[in-house]
C-alpha cells in the first residue's frame, strides 16, 4: 500500500478489524506502532475530539493554512510527557468536567477496582442543569464497566446538546469504552457505546468525518501521540517491518507493488523537487534567515550551532515530522481539491511566496542558488526539465514493470547479506532515520557531547592539553569542549579540539571546530592547513583549495608571492606552482612540503604527493601525522604495503592515533584482506566509539569476510563482544 493511501484514506486503507476506513492516519500510526491495540484505538478516535472540543490547540489554525509543509513544526513541539497531559487536559475541558471527572475516576480506580461503596451500581437520578445531568449519566455508564454488565440507560431529559457536543461525547465515550473493555470484543464495545449514544439521542450519522479545517493539526496530533508512545521502548523499525510484511501478504503480488511504487514515485518526485529548492539550507531553524540573506551564512551557522545544542531532540522530531507532513500536503493537493480549496494545487506556489518575502526575493533567492540562472531561465529550465522528465519517468516505470518483478521481490527478501527480509527492511529503516539525524551534522555545526564531566573543571584547557599529550583523545575532546564552552573565542582551544577530532578520525567535527578557530583567528596557519586537509579528506576540492591558498597568503615569508586577486579564481595548477616557488625559496621548511603534498593529493597526483611528504619527513621525522599523511597517500595510490609500514611508524610515535588505526584497516580492506582489516577497525573504535566511518567500514568488512554473525554486534555497537572476537 502506498504511503499516500495511508494518509489519504484510499480504499486500501480499511484496516482489518477496524470499523472505520476513513481515518487514514490511524492506519499510518498503526503501521508505525503495530502492536499496541489500545494505542491504536485511541489514536483513531482522537482527532475529531480535538477538533470540536475547546481543548488546547497545538497551533493556531489560520497559521496552519498559510504555512509551508513542515514549517509549522518550527514551533516548539510538545515534550512527550506534556503530550500526555495535554491529551488529558483536552479531555477534561470538554463538557465542563463531566466526562473529565468520569475519566479521572476510571484512571484512579483502574479498570476493575474493587471499590463498591462510592458508586452504587444503581441508576442514579438525573436532576439539575444539563452539565450535572450529563455528568451523572456518564458516571452510570462508567459504573457499568465495573461490573462488565451491559449498559442499560435510564431515560434522560432533553439536554439540548449541540452537534459538536454530541460528537465529542460519541468520540470520547468510544475511547473510554475501549479502555474499559479492552479485554472484551469489539461487538461488546460497540453495543455499550451505542446504548449510551442512543439514550443521549446521538446517532451514528454524526460520525461522518469530512475533511475539516483542523486536518493538519490532526496529523500533527497523531504524530505527537505516536511519538509519545514510541519512546517507552517500542522498536518502531521492527513494527514497521512486521507491518510491511503483513501488507506484503495482504496486498502483495507484483502488480500492486508496481502500482504503489509508481504512485510513490510520483510523490517522491514532488518531494525531491521541494527538497532541491531547500537543499542548501542547513536546518529548520535556520531556514527563514537563510532565505533572507544567503551571504550571512557564517552568521546563521553560528546561530544554528547554538540552537542545536539545546533543542536537539526537537530537531530529530521535526525532521521526520516534516517528512510526514509534506506527504500529507501532497496528498491534499491532489485528492482533496474540493474539500480544501485553500490548498488547491495552483495556490501552493503562491502560498510559498507569501510565506517567504513575496515573489521577487524568492526569485532572487532561487537565482542565487542556481548561480547564474535568472528567473526566466529558471522557468524555461523547469519547463524543459518537465518535458524531459515525464517521458523518462514513464519509460523508467515501464522498464521496471517489464522486469521480472517476482525475482526482484524474492531477491530483495533474501537480502544481499542473507538476512531475513524483515531485518533487512528494519535495518534499512534504521539507517534511513539515523542518516536523517546525521544530516544535520554535515552542515559544519559543531555538535557538543552531552554529559560532559569537564564542565565546571577549573582549567579545562590545561587538562585538555595534558590529555591530548597523553594520547587520550576522546577525553581530551571533552575537556576542550568544556573549555570552548567557557571561552567561545579561544582560538587555540578550538584548534586543539579540531586536531583532536581529526586524529580521532572525525573530519566533520574537526572541520566544525576548525571553522570556529578560524573565526576567532583568521590568520592562524595551522588552522588553515588543518581545514585544507580535512576538506581534502571530505573530497571537497574547491574549499580545500581556498584554505590552502589562505595558508600561503597569510604566511609571513611567502605571503608576498601570493597575489590576492588569485583568491577569486583558484586554479589548482596556479597554486601548486606558487607553492613550488615557495619551496625553492626555503627548501628547509617542512610545512611548505606538507601543503604541497596535500595539494597533490587533491589533484590525485599521488606520486608527487608522496615525494613531497617524504621530503617533509626528512626534515620532521617525528611528526606522526606526517607519517599518516604519507601512508594515506600511498594507500590512495594503491601502494598498500608501503602504506602499512608508514602507518606503523605513525603508531610507534603515537599509539592512540585513531586515524592511523582506521587507515590500517582501510588498507587491508582495499587489498581484499577483509578479515585482517577487522581488528584494526575494532581497535580504532575501541578508542573512539564515535568514529562513524570506521563503523561503516567495519560493517562492510564483516559482511565481506562472511562474519554475518557479528553484524548484529556491529549494529548495536557492542565493542566488548567485537574486541573479544577480534583481538589485535
Amino acid at each position: 500500500m502506498a504511503m499516500r493511501d495511508l494518509v489519504s484514506g484510499g480504499a486500501a486503507c480499511a484496516v482489518p478489524g477496524s470499523s472505520s476506513s476513513s481515518n487514514p492516519l490511524g492506519a499510518l500510526t498503526n503501521a508505525l506502532l503495530g502492536s499496541s491495540s489500545k494505542t491504536q484505538e485511541r489514536l483513531k478516535e482522537i482527532p475529531n475530539a480535538n477538533r470540536s472540543g475547546p481543548g488546547p490547540q497545538f497551533y493556531p489554525e489560520d497559521q496552519q493554512l498559510r504555512s509551508l509543509p513542515g514549517s509549522e513544526l518550527d514551533q516548539p513541539i510538545l515534550q512527550p510527557g506534556a503530550q500526555g497531559s495535554e491529551f488529558f487536559r483536552g479531555f477534561r475541558s470538554v463538557d465542563q468536567n463531566g466526562l473529565g471527572a468520569a475519566w479521572d475516576e476510571v484512571q484512579n480506580g483502574g479498570p476493575m477496582p474493587p471499590m463498591g461503596p462510592l458508586y452504587e451500581p444503581v441508576q442514579p437520578t438525573f436532576e439539575g442543569p444539563p452539565q450535572r445531568v450529563l455528568s451523572n449519566f456518564l458516571h452510570s455508564f462508567v459504573e457499568s464497566s465495573r461490573g462488565g454488565i451491559p449498559f442499560r440507560p435510564a431515560p434522560v431529559p432533553v439536554l439540548g446538546l449541540s452537534q459538536s457536543d454530541k460528537q465529542c461525547i460519541r468520540d470520547r465515550s468510544s475511547i473510554m469504552a475501549r479502555h474499559f473493555f479492552a479485554d472484551r470484543g469489539e461487538e461488546f464495545i460497540n453495543a455499550q457505546v451505542n446504548a449510551l449514544l442512543s439514550s443521549l439521542d446521538i446517532d451514528e450519522g454524526i460520525q461522518a468525518r469530512g475533511h475539516i479545517p483542523g486536518r493538519f493539526q490532526e496529523l500533527d496530533n497523531y504524530w505527537n501521540e505516536s511519538q509519545a508512545v514510541v519512546k517507552p521502548g517500542l522498536h518502531p523499525a521492527d513494527n514497521w517491518a512486521a507491518e510491511f510484511n503483513q501488507h506484503g501478504i495482504d496486498h502483495g503480488g507484483p502488480d500492486s507493488w508496481v502500482q504503489s511504487f509508481e504512485q510513490q514515485h510520483g510523490v517522491n518526485g514532488w518531494a525531491t523537487e521541494f527538497e532541491q529548492g531547500q537543499s542548501q539550507l542547513m536546518s529548520n531553524q535556520m531556514r527563514s534567515m537563510e532565505m533572507q540573506n544567503i551571504a550571512a551564512m557564517e552568521q546563521t551557522r553560528k546561530l544554528a550551532h547554538t540552537l542545536s545544542q539545546d533543542v536537539n531532540p526537537k530537531f530529530q522530531n521535526s525532521r521526520f515530522l516534516q517528512f510526514v507532513s509534506k506527504m500529507s500536503r501532497g496528498e491534499l493537493i491532489i485528492d482533496d481539491n474540493q474539500v480544501k480549496p485553500g490548498t488547491a494545487p495552483g495556490e501552493w506556489a503562491t502560498e510559498y511566496e507569501q510565506q517567504y518575502l513575496g515573489p521577487p526575493s524568492w526569485a532572487d533567492q532561487f537565482a542565487n542558488d542556481k548561480l547564474s540562472h535568472g528567473p526566466e531561465q529558471w522557468a524555461e529550465e523547469f519547463a524543459s526539465g518537465r518535458g524531459h522528465q515525464e517521458p523518462a519517468e514513464d519509460q523508467w516505470v515501464n522498464e521496471f514493470s517489464k522486469l521480472n518483478v517476482d525475482d526482484w521481490v524474492d531477491e530483495f527478501a533474501e537480502g544481499p547479506v542473507g538476512e531475513s527480509s524483515a531485518d533487512a527492511w528494519a535495518n534499512a529503516y534504521d539507517e534511513f532515520l539515523s542518516e536523517k539525524n546525521a544530516g544535520k551534522q554535515t552542515s559544519g555545526v559543531y555538535v557538543f557531547s552531552d554529559m560532559n564531566p569537564y564542565v565546571g573543571h577549573p582549567d579545562p584547557m590545561k587538562e585538555g592539553q595534558e590529555l591530548f599529550r597523553k594520547g587520550l583523545l576522546s577525553e581530551a575532546a571533552l575537556a576542550l569542549e568544556a573549555e570552548v564552552m567557557k571561552n567561545p573565542e579561544n582560538a587555540e582551544g578550538w584548534r586543539l579540539l579540531g586536531v583532536t577530532h581529526a586524529e580521532n578520525d572525525d573530519d566533520q567535527q574537526a572541520i566544525a571546530a576548525m571553522m570556529r578557530a578560524h573565526d576567532a583567528d583568521p590568520t592562524n596557519l595551522e588552522v588553515l592547513l588543518a581545514l585544507g586537509v580535512s576538506h581534502t579528506n571530505e573530497l571537497e576540492q574547491a574549499t580545500a583549495l581556498k584554505y590552502l591558498y589562505g595558508w600561503l597568503q597569510n604566511h609571513p615569508k611567502y605571503g608576498a608571492i601570493a597575489p590576492p586577486e588569485l583568491a577569486n579564481s583558484l586554479y589548482h595548477a596556479d597554486i601548486a606552482r606558487l607553492f613550488n616557488e615557495a619551496s625553492q625559496m626555503n627548501p628547509e621548511d617542512a610545512d611548505v612540503h606538507i601543503v604541497l603534498g596535500v595539494l597533490y593529493n587533491l589533484s590525485r597526483e599521488f606520486d608527487r604527493a608522496i615525494t613531497s611528504f617524504q621530503t617533509a619527513l626528512q626534515l620532521k621525522p617525528n611528526d606522526y601525522s606526517l607519517w599518516n599523511k604519507l601512508g594515506a597517500t600511498q594507500a590512495n595510490s594503491v601502494q598498500s604495503a608501503d602504506a602499512i609500514s608508514a602507518y606503523q611508524q605513525a603508531l610507534d610515535l603515537k599509539p592512540n592515533y585513531v586515524r592511523a588505526w582506521a587507515n590500517m584497516g582501510i588498507s587491508y580492506a582495499n587489498q581484499g584482506m577483509y578479515k585482517e582489516s577487522i581488528p584494526y577497525y575494532v581497535r580504532a573504535l575501541a578508542m573512539n566509539p564515535k568514529a562513524d566511518n570506521a563503523w561503516q567500514y567495519l560493517r562492510l568488512s564483516l559482511s565481506c569476510a562472511s562474519r554475518q554473525d557479528l553484524i548484529e554486534a556491529c549494529e548495536s555497537r557492542n565493542l566488548d563482544l567485537l574486541q573479544k572476537e577480534f583481538p589485535l
Binding site: T272, G385, H388, E431, E435, D507, V638, N663
Partner: protein, 123 residues
C-alpha cells in the same frame, strides 16, 4: 585533474588505479559485469557525467561504453554516489529514497555493493 569539481571523480580515479593494480582481479572474477554510472552535480538528470565501470576488463573511464550494452546503469547525485561508494548509505536505501535510479538487469544491479569501491584513506 582539478578542473572538475565532482567528488565522484576522486573515487573513480581511485577505482581506476585499484583495478589497474591487480587488486581488482577478484572483482572481475566475482562480478564480471559492466556498469554505467551517471553522476549529476546537483540534480538528477542534469549535466550528468557518465562513468563506465567495466568489471569484465577491469577498467574505469568516462564516456560511453563501446562494447555493446551495459549490464546496469545507475544515476546518482554526486554526494549520494560518494555516500554509497564509501558505505555511508546502502544501495537499497538509496534506491528507496529515490537517490539512486536503476536501469537494466536487476540481478546485475544486486551485485552493485559498496565493497567494490576502494575506500579513501584519510590524511
Amino acid at each position: 585533474m582539478a578542473t572538475t569539481q565532482l567528488k565522484s571523480d576522486a573515487i573513480m580515479d581511485m577505482m581506476k588505479e585499484h583495478l589497474a593494480s591487480g587488486a581488482g582481479k577478484e572483482l572481475t572474477e566475482k562480478i564480471g559485469l559492466v556498469y554505467q554510472i551517471n553522476v549529476a552535480p546537483k540534480k538528477l538528470g542534469f549535466e550528468e557525467v557518465s562513468f563506465i565501470v567495466d568489471l569484465k576488463k577491469g577498467e574505469v573511464f568516462k564516456g560511453k561504453y563501446e562494447g555493446g550494452k551495459v549490464d546496469a546503469t545507475f544515476s546518482f547525485k554526486d554526494d549520494d554516489f560518494v555516500k554509497v561508494a564509501t558505505g555511508k548509505m546502502n544501495p537499497q536505501i538509496a534506491f528507496i529514497r529515490g537517490a539512486m535510479k536503476i536501469k537494466g538487469s536487476l540481478s546485475a544491479a544486486q551485485k552493485f555493493t559498496p565493497d567494490i569501491f576502494p575506500k579513501p584513506s584519510k590524511l
